[in-house]
């Protein structure tokens, strides 16, 4: 198994185009498990961990934040990002353990595309877009169009996730997750809620209760309908972690609780 180790984004995109079979790897918290347990044995790995272009975040014109694909959960938990995107910070704090949060990245969460990805609900609730780059150029896709199914995304074989772009709503927001303990938990279900008064709406997004994380929007006037609307939009399954019925019920509870928390603040 070859490891391609580009030092610049341009080099990485050229390698990605030349080696479409190479598995991109950033922090490694998902990919190493696959490799070690033999779940996948790609011919090559494309290591993105040395690319300075993917690190950190920048603030652009008209208040748009560009979060590098290599931004770690630990970084998303810290000010000033945590103050701009509190629900993302809360969600990041529920990911794995400190060791995992120091290594795992937002780009990796998107690339893996699990319906349980903890960063996905808060990003969907803030209407994030995904920046995809290739030697052909750069395109931006709404996150909901990027997530196609269980670990299936719209990423082309010559593309890399380079950033997430969003304009923080500044609205009251929070994240909640159900699991058997406070650490090292794959969400049984999760929910992010943003009360966006400037748009006059409440946006929520749930995880682990459909083939992808999904967003539900209601007007502020109809905020009380949110728990029912989420329960209707969910299409959970029975699996080793919980039953579908439990997930639907838990989402209703989380919706009521998180909404109350946001509307009170």
């Amino acid at each position: 198994m070859e490891v391609l180790r580009p030092r610049t984004l341009a080099e990485a995109l050229a390698l990605r185009a030349a080696h479409p079979e190479a598995r991109p790897i950033q922090g490694g918290t998902d990919v190493l498990v696959e490799l070690t347990f033999g779940h996948s044995r790609p011919d090559a790995l494309l290591d993105l961990s040395e690319l300075a272009e993917l690190r950190g975040f920048t603030e652009e014109e008209d208040g748009v934040l560009r979060l590098g694909a290599g931004l770690t959960y630990a970084e998303a938990m810290q000010a000033p990002l945590a103050t701009r995107l509190p629900a993302l910070a809360e969600a990041s704090r529920t990911v794995g353990s400190p060791q995992i949060r120091n290594r795992g990245t937002l780009g990796g969460n998107l690339g893996t595309g699990s319906p349980a990805g903890d960063a996905l609900p808060p990003l969907l609730a803030e209407r994030a877009e995904v920046e995809l780059a290739s030697v052909r150029g750069t395109q931006t896709l709404p996150l909901e169009d990027f997530l196609l199914g269980v670990k299936r995304t719209a990423l082309a074989t010559d593309e890399l996730v380079t950033a997430i772009r969003l304009r923080p709503s500044g609205g009251a927001q929070t994240f909640a997750k159900v699991g058997p303990r406070n650490a090292m938990v794959i969400a049984i279900c999760s929910l992010a809620v943003v009360v966006d008064t400037s748009e006059g709406e409440v946006r929520a997004a749930f995880g682990s209760a459909a083939v992808t994380a999904k967003r539900v929007t209601v007007s502020l006037a109809d905020a009380a309908e949110l728990p029912d609307r989420i329960a209707e939009a969910a299409a959970p399954i029975d699996d080793v972690r919980a039953t579908a019925a439990y997930r639907r019920h838990a989402l209703r509870v989380l919706a009521t609780r998180t909404l109350e928390r946001c509307l009170r603040s």
Binding site: L32, D47, P98, Q99, I100, N102, R103, N182, M184
Partner: protein, 152 residues
């Protein structure tokens, strides 16, 4: 592939296969077995090391990704004549039962106290949430953290 890196202040190199983890490279190739191999999926923390000063599970880092980087393992903590204060605190508190989780916990506590010199119990709990002790000796482990913090 050839991987050269700094481990515990020493420049070392060795051959790794492409998909090899930093953990097995440290243990089997560089002959540093202090970092323990238990779950191999980031659940237990027994392989914790510092990667450029950041706490990580070495089982979730590709050996190739450590090329040119600085790693500190549990072997790099003690001085020649004395244990690291965190190691000494574990001894004094009796925070070791079977001992398998101890190296990872010691590295995680060294990282915690470097960032938060006097952690609250909640901070200790959250910081050590990625390190499992299957003997369930957490009370003594917490004592060790408090002893190390007091002595610093």
């Amino acid at each position: 592939m050839r991987v050269s890196l700094t481990v515990n202040g020493e420049r070392l190199e060795g051959d790794a296969w492409g998909g090899e983890s930093l953990l097995t490279f440290l243990r089997d190739t560089l002959e540093l077995p202090g970092s323990k191999n238990a779950c191999e999926q980031g659940e237990c923390g027994s392989c914790s090391v510092l990667f450029d000063g950041t706490l990580v599970c070495s089982c979730l880092v590709l050996a190739a990704q450590a090329e040119g980087h600085e790693i500190v393992t549990v072997e790099g903590l003690a001085r020649e004549d004395a244990l690291h204060p965190v190691q000494q605190a574990f001894v004094d508190a009796g925070a070791v039962q079977c001992g398998f989780c101890t190296p990872g916990l010691v590295v995680a506590v060294v990282d915690l106290l470097a960032r938060v010199p006097h952690p609250s119990d909640d901070e200790i709990r959250e910081s050590l949430s990625g390190n499992l002790c299957r003997c369930t000796g957490y009370a003594k482990i917490f004592d060790a953290v408090r002893i190390a913090a007091e002595r610093a």
